[in-house]
């Protein structure tokens, strides 16, 4: 190799090394933003199609508008609603806040993974051993995040435009573009705030907790602001309030992009200054001092397993009880509109009948059952993670039996679900009582108990996979839940064969209170779940432990 060739090769290496953080991070952001873009896009298409199908008469649209347009609970939860007799207004009500929340959570997890998680895992050390500084790594990752946000927005825009063109939604290019920009506004805020949190906190977990609280606070501020108690100004101090004030599709107010852009730039500037002044692995807030942990958590494997999963369980607990509160608040209004719309025919297709409120609750408890199933799966997935990362070795090299180890954790999950269910029932009955929806406590409790068997089934099946084919534990669980959800959706859009419907675990439970509880199905699912659990635990006791 000549001298020129050597220096060229060096230059190429230096160039490659310089942009490695961007390239690596871009791959992750592209993948997830495309996935979420497709999800968001099809959610919007689905909402638009369902609106045009179910509310195809001006009368049904008026009923919808009257029921939700002035409903304080709906406005507080999902923001002010305008022109519900038009598709654009319905899309805002139906999807906008869901996309804001899901998009914000995606941005939180993706940002903390790139900016703190990869630093925790030691990736940054490799970068810094090359030709880049910590500040450059940070800038490159932020650039990839911005590209990710652009991909998300473009993907949603393209899908929405395609739907608009093919199904004649009548939205138009400007409305589609503006809606997509509004959808990406909340994730942008949390990418910016996330970049700051990753400089303040020394662990991804702490940054996630902080951002989770920030999201909750921003949402709560605007919720109070929209509650009609004279505190509307709270909308103006909450970043989620700014997003709401953008008014996507109906009466747009693009001037509210201004505080969002200023807030994001400020966060980027402050975090940029912080990253320039700190060392690798350090943070503004030093959390190296251990937290006080009650000694009772360190007494046994069971108590420690409760300690480890309690944060995750609290989140699920919160999600399930919040769902209960929302159901209690909107059941009455939703029930009255259902009677007037053709969505009743869809409910009939998937076996939900009865009065409007009962039908709505019957359908909604399927969602609660989905939440319970995800909660169960999350806990079984944690078992697999503990095996892979080697924590399980620590326990099993001690006088600790495998059976006790796994059963302790499954028991904690099932008991947590029961408690969450009971609290959910109480809250739903209480909110329902104040809104006159007629949901009694006994109805709530039966409905909750009726929605638990699918989660027991998922626990059983995932445990079976964990015992027999541990590498497929996560796949098995997600496949069962995902497939069942698809079947429910497909069944909603058209006539589906009974054989297909029977493959869904959510179709096996009756839509109580719209129909009587199907005791045989409940018992059967419960028994199959427990059998799967027993066989899974048995084989887990026999198989090799495979840490990384």
């Amino acid at each position: 190799m000549t001298t020129t060739e050597v220096s060229t090769a060096k230059a190429v290496n230096a160039f490659n090394g310089t942009f490695e953080p961007f390239k690596y991070s871009l791959k992750q952001w592209t993948r997830s933003s495309l996935m979420y873009g497709v999800l968001f896009g099809f959610t919007l298409i689905g909402s638009a199609v369902s609106y045009l199908s179910f509310y195809h008469t001006s009368h049904s649209r008026e009923v919808l508008s009257q029921a939700f347009g002035h409903n304080v609970a709906t406005i507080a939860l999902f923001g002010p609603t305008y022109d519900l007799n038009q598709l654009a207004g319905f899309l805002v009500l139906k999807s906008f806040f869901t996309l804001i929340i899901v998009g914000s959570m995606w941005a939180i997890f993706a940002t903390t993974k790139s900016l703190r998680g990869d630093e925790d895992r030691g990736f940054f050390e490799h970068y810094l051993a090359g030709t880049v500084t910590l500040k450059r790594v940070y800038l490159q990752i932020l650039c990839s995040a911005i590209v990710g946000l652009a991909i998300l927005s473009i993907t949603v825009f393209m899908i929405l435009c395609a739907g608009d063109y093919l199904r004649h939604f009548g939205l138009g290019l400007y409305q589609c573009l503006y809606y997509c920009l509004c959808v990406v506004a909340a994730p942008s805020i949390f990418v910016a705030l996330g970049s700051l949190a990753c400089q303040i906190f020394a662990s991804r977990k702490s940054a996630n907790v902080f951002l989770g609280w920030a999201l909750g606070l921003f949402y709560a501020l605007r919720l109070v602001g929209d509650s009609g108690i004279g505190l509307h100004w709270l909308d103006f101090i909450s970043p989620i309030g700014w997003v709401e004030l953008l008014h996507p599709m109906i009466r747009p107010k693009p001037m509210y992009f201004m505080p969002i852009v200023i807030f994001s730039i400020l966060c980027f500037l402050i975090s940029g200054a912080m990253v320039a002044s700190r060392d690798l692995g350090e943070a503004f807030y030093d959390d190296s001092a251990p937290r006080k942990i009650s000694r009772r958590y360190l007494r046994s494997d069971l108590t420690y397993s409760i300690y480890r999963v309690k944060t995750a369980l609290y989140s699920w607990f919160f999600a399930i009880t919040l769902t209960g509160a929302v159901l209690g608040l909107v059941a009455s209004s939703a029930g009255s509109t259902l009677n007037q719309s053709s969505i009743k025919t869809v409910f009939d297709r998937i076996g939900i009948s009865g009065s409007g409120t009962q039908s709505f609750l019957g359908f909604s408890f399927v969602i609660v059952a989905v939440l319970f199933s995800f909660m169960s799966l999350g806990q079984i997935n944690t078992l697999r993670e503990q095996e892979i990362d080697g924590h399980l070795d620590n326990f099993l090299a001690l006088p600790e039996s495998r059976t006790r180890w796994i059963l302790n954790r499954i028991t904690v999950t099932i008991v947590s679900e029961l408690i969450a269910g009971i609290v959910c029932a109480i809250i739903m009955a209480a909110t329902g009582y104040f809104h006159g929806s007629g949901i009694s406590f006994s109805i709530s409790i039966y409905a909750i108990l009726n929605s638990l068997p699918p989660s027991i089934f998922v626990i059983g099946l995932a445990t079976l996979a964990f015992g027999l084919i541990p590498s497929k534990t996560v796949f098995t669980g997600y496949f069962v839940i995902g497939w069942s959800m698809i079947v429910e959706i497909v069944a909603g859009f058209g006539k589906a064969s009974q054989y297909l419907l029977d493959t869904s675990i959510f179709h096996q439970i009756s839509p109580y209170p719209a129909a009587k509880i199907d005791v045989i199905s409940v018992v059967l699912m419960f028994v199959i779940g427990i059998l799967g659990l027993i066989v899974g635990v048995y084989y887990f006791g026999l198989r090799d432990i495979s840490s990384r």
Partner: protein
């Protein structure tokens, strides 16, 4: 306990296959109670597989193993209450402090000598009130070592226990092992640090590609292995390169330096006609022994 009284670990034709790879092949050995064993082998030789089989974390394809006369697959709980294990990949809980980790592991084991634990913390110069996450690799290793010794188990299974420790702490570790030996505890030490094994182990077991290639007392093994020889002649050195087992390292006008692994009588016969001024033979170090076994 019967036959287990004097035998701490017994492997009988222990074999482990992972799909098409044989990680351990027909391993048979017995380790007497109270012995300190160095378990050696290059990467992938099957050391960690053996330890995981002994702990019952994986099950053998064939063969069996016993610890203190109890089957490692059937009597795990009973066996584990009598042993401590320091894994090669030291994975602890990042959110706990060193002391909280020790408390948790002690509670799970069931027996902790609190006074001894505190002595060990001091001996290893461990700051127990810091988060595990903020510890260096060496400090995390110290937590695992304290956790292993503080229960005063009958058997210590240690997989690369001094990985990350500084030389001073390595000496402390050796002291702990010596103390354990004095207390009659059995130690199975898998290590790459041959000087450490040489300093503290009674016996050495050497693995290669899943097979036990040498075992026994270190001094006995050394007799069977390559020795370093330096011969100084008063006249021109004879040609001894054809003697079986001779590897010439260097030759000068009057000196030959060589490695020898053969019949000494034959070597002596080959130099008997020459005028030998001095003949110096040195015992191989464990490192040389290791290299002679594994050098392909």
């Amino acid at each position: 306990m019967g036959s287990g009284d004097n035998i701490a670990i017994k492997c009988d034709r222990l074999t482990k296959r992972f799909k098409n790879v044989t990680a351990l092949d027909d391993l048979t050995f017995e380790i007497g109670a109270g012995r300190t064993i160095g378990y050696l082998g290059p990467n992938g030789a099957g050391k960690t597989t053996t330890l995981r089989l002994l702990l019952g974390l994986i099950k053998p394809t064939s063969g069996s193993a016993q610890i203190f006369g109890l089957d490692v697959q059937k009597d795990k709980m009973n066996i584990h209450s009598q042993l401590s294990y320091v894994p090669g990949d030291n994975v602890l809980w990042p959110e706990l402090s060193g002391m909280q980790t020790l408390e948790l592991l002690g509670n799970l084991h069931g027996t902790t000598d609190i006074k001894f634990r505190d002595e060990l913390i001091e001996q290893f110069n461990l700051e127990p009130n810091k988060k595990i996450k903020s510890y260096s690799k060496g400090n995390r290793q110290k937590v695992s070592l304290v956790a292993a010794f503080m229960t005063r188990p009958k058997l210590l299974i240690l997989d690369e226990p001094t990985s990350g420790l500084d030389p001073l702490m390595e000496l402390e570790f050796r002291n702990c092992i010596r103390q354990a030996k004095e207390n009659g505890q059995t130690v199975l030490l898998s290590s790459h640090i041959l000087s450490e094994v040489e300093a503290i182990c009674d016996d050495v077991y050497m693995l290669r590609e899943g097979k036990l290639v040498k075992s026994g007392k270190l001094e006995d093994l050394k007799h069977y292995s390559v020795v370093n020889i330096s011969i100084v002649f008063r006249s021109e050195p004879p040609d001894i390169s054809r003697v079986k087992g001779v590897t010439i390292l260097a030759t000068s006008a009057d000196t030959i330096r060589l490695k020898f692994n053969g019949d000494f009588n034959e070597l002596f016969r080959s130099i008997s006609q020459a005028d030998v001024r001095s003949f110096l033979s040195t015992e191989p170090s464990l490192e040389e022994l290791f290299m002679s076994l594994y050098d392909k």
